[in-house]
Amino acid sequence: MTETNRPDIQTAPQEPEASGPEASQAEASLWADAWRSLRTNPWFIISAVLLLILITMALFPQLFTNENPRECYLSRSRLEPSAEHWFGTDIQGCDYYARVIYGARNSVAIGVVVSIGVFIISLVLGLLAGYFRGWIDAVISRITDLIFALPFILGALVFLNVIESRGVTEVAGVLIVFMWPTMTRLMRGSVLSVVNVEYVTAARALGAGHLTIMRRHILPNSLGPVMAYTAILTGIVIGAEATLTYLGVGLQLPAISWGLQLSDAQRYITQLPHLTVFPLIAVGLTVFAFMSLGDAIRDAIDPKSKKR
C-alpha cells in the first residue's frame, strides 16, 4: 500500500489508502494531524515567519537596531527617510525606525495578552453555558448582555480615566473586560451546534462522562470559529489600543507604542506622511499575520475543509 503514496496528502477520501506516510506511525491525535496539515499550508508559513519576526522584535528590539529610541536630538528633527535613518525622524528628532521597532513590544503585548485572556475566559464560559444550559447558561448569558449594553468606548473611557497611571496591564485588563462577551457568545453558539449531534449522544451511550465528552467531542469540534476569531481579535485589540491611546486614555508617554506614534503623527499627516505610514504598515502586517494564522489553524483543525 505504501508504494502508491506520494509524500503529500491523497486526493480521494474514499480510497482505502492510508492518508499519509506518517499516518500509521504518528500519534493519531487531532493536534498531530492539524500540525501535519499546517506545515504544508503556505499561508501558515508566511504568517508564522512574520509573527516570529514580530515576536523577536518585541522581545529583543536591540537585535534590529543599534539606535536608542529615547536618544532624541532636536537638531535632526523631521528628517525624511534616508540611508542613515531608514524611517526618518520624528518631531523630537528620535530615530523613527528604532521607535517603530521598540513600539512592537507594547502593541503585541496588549494584543496577545488580551486575546489569550479573552480566549481562555470565552472557552471556559462558552463551553459551560453551551454544554450544561440551564441556570449556568442563563447567568453567563445575562452577564454578557450586561456588558454588551455598555458602549465599549464609553466604558473604556470611564474605566481608564479613573486609573491614574496606565501601563500595558491596565489597558489590557480593561480591554479584556469589554471584549470577552463577543467571543463567549461565539463559543456558546459553536458548542450549541455540536452538543446535540449524534456523536455526542453516541459517546454518552458508550459511557463517556461530561469531561471526556467536552474535551474529546465538543471542544475540538467547536474550536475552529473561536480560534479564527482570536486571531481577528488580536488585530481588533491592537486597533483598539491605538484608538484608546489616541483618545488619551490608553498608554501614556513616555511609553513607546504604535498607537502613540499614530496619534502623534495625525497632526503632521500632510507634511510628514512617513510618520503615519511606518507604524501603520507595522500594525497592518501584525494584524495580517495574526489573521492568516487564525485561518490556517481553522482549516487545519477541521478535517472536512482539508484539501485532501
Binding site: 500500500m1 477520501p13 474514499q14 482505502p16 489508502e17 492510508a18 492518508s19 499516518a23 500509521s24 504518528a26 500519534e27 493519531a28 491525535s29 487531532l30 494531524d33 449531534v197 449524534e198 456523536y199 449522544t201 453516541a202 459517546a203 454518552r204 451511550a205 458508550l206 459511557g207 463517556a208 462522562g209 471526556t212 474529546r216 467531542h217 475540538p220 469540534n221 483543525i301 477541521d302 478535517p303 472536512k304
Partner: protein, 353 residues
C-alpha cells in the same frame, strides 16, 4: 449456546445473576411539548435473556428508538419524561441508580449501535483513536495499549488493513466500514446487552446482510443479549430469536420468530407481513396497511390500531385489549387474537359484502 454469564465485575454491586439480563416492565415515556403530551411509550413489557436476539419491529413513531434511548439513559430530559415503569438490568432497576453508576454501565454492560455511523462518529478524531477511547475511559489503558486493542477490534469486525487504517478519519471509510467501526466501539468492552437501533437502515442491501451476519457472529461469540430495532421485516427474519411488534408505544404481539411469520396473532402483524413484496405474487397489488399511525398526543381510547384495522368492531374502539397469550410463548394484544391466529376471521368489509 453456552449459558455462562459475563464476569464484567457486576456481582459486587448487587446484581442478581439469576434474573433475566434485561427486563422492561410497564414502561411509560412521554414528551411534554407545547402541542401537548406525546405518549411515545405506553406500558411496554419485554424480557431479554443472555444469548438471545430480540427484534423490536415497528413503523416510524412507534416508540422503538425512544425505548432504546430510555434503556441507554440518553433520552433528552426534558422534554422527555419517564412517566412510569422499570427497566431492570440483572434484576436491578436502572432508574434507581445514581447517574454515575449508570454511566459506568453504559458501553461496559449495555452498549448501543446507532443508525447512521457517519454522524455517530466524531469527524475530527481518527477512528482508531475513538475505539481506543473506550479502553482509556473505562479501563484506564495507556495510549499505546489502547491503540493495540483498537487495531485488534478493527480486525475482529473485518476491516481490511486495520493497522494502516487506524489513523484514518470516519469520512475516509465507506458506509459499511463505518458501521463496522461503530460496532467495534460498541462491543469493545464485551457488553452483555447490545442495542442496535436500525443498524443497517443507512446501508445498501448487500452490505446490510454482511453487517447483520457480523452482529450475529459477535453475539454468538460473546453470548450477548441483542436488541435489534428495525422496521425491516426482511432483516430480522434470519437473525432474530424473538420478535416484538410495537405500535403506538405498545407491544402488539410478541413471539418466536418462526411462529410470528407463520401464524401472526394480531391484525397489525398480519398487515405488515402482507405488505412485504413477495416473489410469488407477481402482478398483484401490494397490500399496504391503510391510514397512518395515531398522533402520539391523541391516541384513540380503544385499541390504538382499531382505526386502521380491517377486523375492528365496536369493542375495539372502546376497550383496549391486554397483551394475552394465544399459544405457548406467543402473546397478542387483540380481542380476536384466537381467530386471527387460526385464520378464521374475515375482514369486516368482506364479511359485510
Amino acid at each position: 449456546m453456552t449459558t455462562t454469564t459475563h464476569p464484567a465485575g457486576t456481582e459486587q454491586e448487587g446484581y442478581d445473576a439469576s434474573a433475566p439480563l434485561l427486563e422492561v416492565d410497564d414502561l411509560h415515556v412521554e414528551f411534554r411539548t407545547k402541542a401537548g403530551v406525546a405518549r411515545a411509550v405506553n406500558g411496554l413489557n419485554f424480557t431479554l435473556n443472555a444469548g438471545e436476539t430480540l427484534a423490536i419491529l415497528g413503523e416510524s413513531g412507534s416508540g422503538k428508538s425512544v425505548t432504546a434511548q430510555t434503556i441507554m439513559g440518553i433520552l433528552d430530559m426534558p422534554p422527555g419524561h419517564i412517566a412510569g415503569g422499570e427497566i431492570r438490568y440483572r434484576g436491578k432497576n436502572l432508574f434507581d441508580m445514581p447517574e454515575e453508576q449508570r454511566r459506568r454501565l453504559r458501553g461496559v454492560n449495555i452498549s448501543m449501535i446507532f443508525q447512521d455511523a457517519l454522524s455517530a462518529l466524531n469527524p475530527v478524531l481518527p477512528v482508531g483513536f475513538q475505539i481506543a477511547e473506550m479502553f482509556r475511559v473505562h479501563r484506564g489503558f495507556k495510549r499505546k495499549q489502547a491503540r493495540e486493542e483498537a487495531v485488534k477490534l478493527m480486525q475482529k469486525v473485518g476491516i481490511p488493513a486495520a493497522e494502516k487504517r487506524v489513523g484514518d478519519y470516519p469520512h475516509q471509510f465507506s458506509g459499511g466500514m463505518r458501521q463496522r467501526i461503530m460496532i467495534a466501539m460498541a462491543i469493545a468492552l464485551d457488553p452483555d446487552v447490545l442495542i442496535a437501533d436500525e443498524p443497517t437502515t443507512a446501508l445498501d442491501v448487500t452490505v446490510q446482510a454482511q453487517v447483520m451476519r457480523l452482529l450475529k457472529e459477535l453475539q454468538t461469540e460473546n453470548n450477548m443479549g441483542l436488541i435489534l430495532i428495525t422496521h425491516d421485516l426482511g432483516v430480522v427474519a434470519d437473525v432474530a430469536d424473538k420478535i416484538a411488534v410495537m405500535y403506538a408505544g405498545r407491544v402488539m404481539e410478541a413471539a418466536d420468530v418462526f411462529e410470528i411469520y407463520a401464524k401472526p396473532g394480531h391484525p397489525y402483524t398480519k398487515g405488515l407481513l402482507e405488505s412485504l413484496p413477495r416473489i410469488d405474487a407477481e402482478g398483484e397489488r401490494l397490500n399496504a396497511i391503510p391510514g397512518l399511525p395515531p398522533a402520539l398526543t391523541n391516541i384513540p381510547p380503544g385499541c390504538p390500531f382499531s382505526p386502521r384495522c380491517p377486523y375492528s368492531t365496536e369493542l375495539c374502539r372502546t376497550d383496549r385489549p391486554e397483551l394475552l397469550p394465544v399459544a405457548e410463548g406467543h402473546v397478542s394484544a387483540c380481542h380476536y387474537r384466537e381467530e386471527i391466529y387460526s385464520g378464521e376471521l374475515k375482514p369486516r368489509e368482506e364479511a359485510q359484502a
